[in-house]
Symmetry: C2
DNA sequence: ACATTATATCGTAATATTACGATATAATTA
DNA sequence: TAATTATATCGTAATATTACGATATAATGT
């Protein structure tokens, strides 16, 4: 089929999966790393940074915005992209909690 | 096209994306949570736990094994699934480092 | 040897993702 | 107003993912 059965999982699991998707493609990792490294909201000079077509990058940005992990504010003819502090904190907390909960067992 | 251009990204980015994929589907989150909570290597009683077909669960387990985040050791007629300690630590470190590197900017 | 049990694999259908070129949109500048 | 610039959206092709039933495999128990 190809359609995820989200109904059968709980909200936490679906949310976790959603956040993880932000990091589940190297282009999106690169975009996020760039935004983080900039320590500022940057206008989309990503097209010059990544060896991907502008439309492809725009598509990834759209997905990151859908996930909620970044925001995009119009600033004149450009758009200022920024990590969404709140969502970032939540993703970090959720992923961190899960990753820390593992105790070596065998 | 639909084919990720892995060549144009660096190893760290590709690896990060690979690990993140382990968490990027609610069924895999559920599987991982179950393995973590068990605090033991468990034989695949996941089929009774998750409302998905056995073949679907097997497919997700295969992907998790491919990613490297879990191992599966044959034990008689069953298979003992376990978090792969080393890969887990690496994933945790990589994701943690990225998530911690963000400083509020604007 | 045969049945049982646990798991994997195969085949397949539906849907999602990735990528790109072309085009549209919207603000700025000349 | 027209040209420019930055970004989004559309259309589309290729590939990947998700899911399931059916079947294969492999070890155990009878």
């Amino acid at each position: 089929m190809g359609i995820t059965k989200a109904e059968v999982f709980n909200d936490q699991q679906n949310k976790m999966a959603r956040y993880a998707k932000a990091f589940a493609h190297p282009a999106r990792v690169a975009i996020i790393e760039y935004l983080v490294k900039a320590e500022a909201c940057i206008c989309g000079d990503l097209v010059g940074e990544l060896p991907l077509a502008q439309s492809t990058i725009s598509q990834h940005l759209k997905e990151l915005k859908n996930i909620g992990i970044i925001t995009g504010e119009i600033e004149g003819p450009r758009i200022n992209y920024c990590i969404n502090e709140k969502a970032w904190a939540e993703a970090r907390s959720m992923l961190g909690k899960l990753m820390d909960s593992y105790k070596k067992c065998c």
